[in-house]
Symmetry: C2
Subunit: 419 residues, 2 copies
């Protein structure tokens, strides 16, 4: 049994017109007009091609339930249809459309699985004007509640998230009804583009994901002394920006020393005050984002930062205040799902690479309530979150067939859970 | 003959209430309500205590002319009464009030100079909402013309500079009438706080200024590649911010290697794009401000930057675009004025230090049209452009008497110029 890759590619192409901007990127943030259009497109497709009416839960997640049976836990496959601003065609959309393709293939083959199969497209996985990501899967696993969303408004136009959810078919009042537990699901599997270049370097099309990275974010506020850029001699300066620059380069050096592709550190946010050409910076804020699957590595990294901070404070006469903004643990994928994915990958290529996902995904939230796993497909040049995001038709066909086999293997992996 | 330092300190105190904010700093930018109040205070003081009506030129510079004589060039002393936002009490104000005190002392002593003496307070020396500094002295020496100011508006409220000048008693239409040449002036002498800590380190109250520093400003635009902070492995990154950080630290190192207090480099302005914690910076702009009195040092500095830029471009796979924003030559003070100032300084202290001014001043513009010079007084802790700006009463008395002697020496220095 094989997927129909031509149909899958045609669907990817069609969905990519929704929200496409003049530059060729895709604008399809949660709550936008194009988010709603993409939802309509999916609902119509599922109705016309699978003959199934979409079920929309209170978090506005879209569900297609196939062979639903009382007392029998469903195997869920899918991803999200929204996009980052000026994003690409594959991030999220590929996962939803491949899940759809797999269901369509199984229906055409009239194959009966042990478990009911559901396809899902989650609400608001990407950053959006409500400053929340993975909204749908966070509600599903209990990380976002009705209370926590009640005062949430769009930074763009002040719309309440309750109204944005309602426009998409959700219902903030009934949000608890979208909460699921391990009593509701058999397993979850998501296909996603890698968004990095590790598969390209290995010259392989697909990989099993073993773990979703932990993310640790600290904000540094360097307090130096603003002063005249001319009259303050070099040796008297307490330049907050140069202290931050030194710290940033130190963070890069520490990350490089681990010599592990799954350990990265980034200073993406920097703000200098007063930010005038003729004034020595008095204050500089920056945020470092450190990612690793290993809490020991994180602890070692943080200890080395502490050393570096003391050294820079002493050398430059500045004070560096630290604040932890985020400390999200890594999330291992479930061994049963990893095993099924490995079987799937093996059906399309000889080597079976196992990768850590260095980005967050809905699958990490699903891992809190069910056996969860992911399969990656190679990203050309590692590009993502941009219009150049691309995976080749050949690779998409391969990951499609690998995922189909993984679904079959996963379905057979544990009959005891079907009551 | 001595100045009346008690009177001078009292006047400094009084003027410092004009524009003083709740935090104790002074807001007295050109065109503001407090700028106008300070002008009124000076005009009233000069009228009441010197019996002289203020002459306001088309650039709204305030002049007090003593013993004006047809065909006899005046010796001009003064500074400016405006202040940087949240500035201190001494920058500018001391120069105007000390010039006033010297004239008052000479009048009380009924001393007749060879030259007429004028006191001046210049318009808008400091940064202001019109994005221009040393406005009054730039008009005087021809660096700012009526045409160049016609479309100049306030970034705060859109007011035309013509209207701000008119409120202060100036007249944009008649601006050319404020232009002076060497046929109009005998010499100019300005007292100013040092704004640095070189005098403090030498443990001396006053110094002669030999030169006003050159200022060279370059903007760097580092073009890297914005990418996902998680999925992009460290060795694949083209991080524009880290390249800028490395360049900035390199600039500091080069400046330090000159081991000369009169060579400084500052990166005061930094802008990172897109400036999000989870995105590797794709573009970073920064501005370096390099100051030296020596064109050879500047050339060497720029050559070393060129080396550093190439090395960083190659190492980090980024492109660095350079743009010269300002290339203002250093301006030597006139030997006759330096000599007179040295005589004055010698009358109050044994050693006569000669300093380069590392900040720009009205005296640099005056040097284009007359013999120009400056005398510095020690700044406590080198602080300036802040409410902590301070010079002790003892030092102010000393610089006052030194400047009085310098004026007398300068007046006698070249009788040939009095026609």
């Amino acid at each position: 049994m094989k997927i129909n890759s031509e149909r899958l590619l045609k669907n990817l192409e069609e969905l990519s017109y929704i929200g496409r901007n003049e530059g060729g990127g895709i604008d399809r943030a949660f709550g936008s007009k194009s988010d709603l259009e993409a939802r309509e497109w999916l609902i119509r497709y599922w109705k016309e091609h699978l003959g199934i009416e979409t079920r929309i839960d209170a978090a506005a997640n879209l569900w297609v339930d196939y062979q639903k049976k009382e007392g029998c836990l469903p195997l869920v496959i899918g991803s999200h249809h929204d996009a980052v601003p000026d994003g690409g065609r594959y991030d999220g959309a590929l996962g939803v459309l491949l899940a759809t393709e797999i269901l369509e293939t199984l229906m055409e083959a009239k194959l009966k699985l042990n478990h009911p199969l559901s396809v899902v497209s989650f609400t608001g996985e990407e950053p959006n004007p409500f400053n929340l990501s993975t909204i749908g899967s966070k509600v599903l696993c209990g990380r976002l509640t009705r209370e926590s969303l009640e005062n949430c408004i769009s930074r763009d136009n002040g719309e309440r998230i309750a109204d944005a959810l309602a426009r998409a078919g959700g219902n903030l009042e009934r949000l608890p009804s979208a909460r699921l537990t391990k009593e509701d699901l058999f397993a979850f599997l998501e296909c996603h583009i890698e968004q990095g270049s590790r598969l390209e370097k290995k010259n392989l099309p697909t990989a099993a994901v073993t773990c979703i990275t932990g993310i640790y974010r600290e904000q540094y506020t360097v307090q130096g002394e603003a002063n005249h850029a001319g009259t303050t001699v070099m040796t008297d300066r307490k330049d907050a920006y140069l202290a931050a620059a030194e710290l940033s380069l130190m963070l890069e050096r520490i990350a490089l020393e681990f010599q592990d592709d799954d350990v990265v550190a980034t200073v993406g946010y920097v703000e200098v005050q007063p930010n005038e050409a003729n004034i020595i910076p008095g204050v500089t804020q920056c945020i470092v984002d450190i990612r690793t699957y290993d809490t020991a590595v994180k602890a070692l990294f943080v200890a080395r930062i502490t050393d570096a901070v003391s050294r820079i404070e002493e050398k430059r006469g500045v004070k560096i205040k630290r604040e932890v903004l985020l400390d999200q643990l890594h999330m291992p994928m479930h061994p049963d799902v990893i095993q099924a994915v490995c079987q799937g990958v093996q059906s399309v290529q000889e080597k079976v690479p196992e990768l850590v996902s260095m980005a967050g995904h809905d699958a990490a939230n699903l891992a809190r309530v069910t056996k969860s796993g992911m399969i990656f497909v190679r990203s050309v040049d590692g590009k993502s979150h941009c219009k150049e995001e691309y995976s080749t038709p050949e690779d998409i066909e391969k990951v499609g067939n690998a995922m189909l086999q993984a679904v079959l293997a996963l379905d057979r992996s544990d009959k005891s859970e079907t009551i």
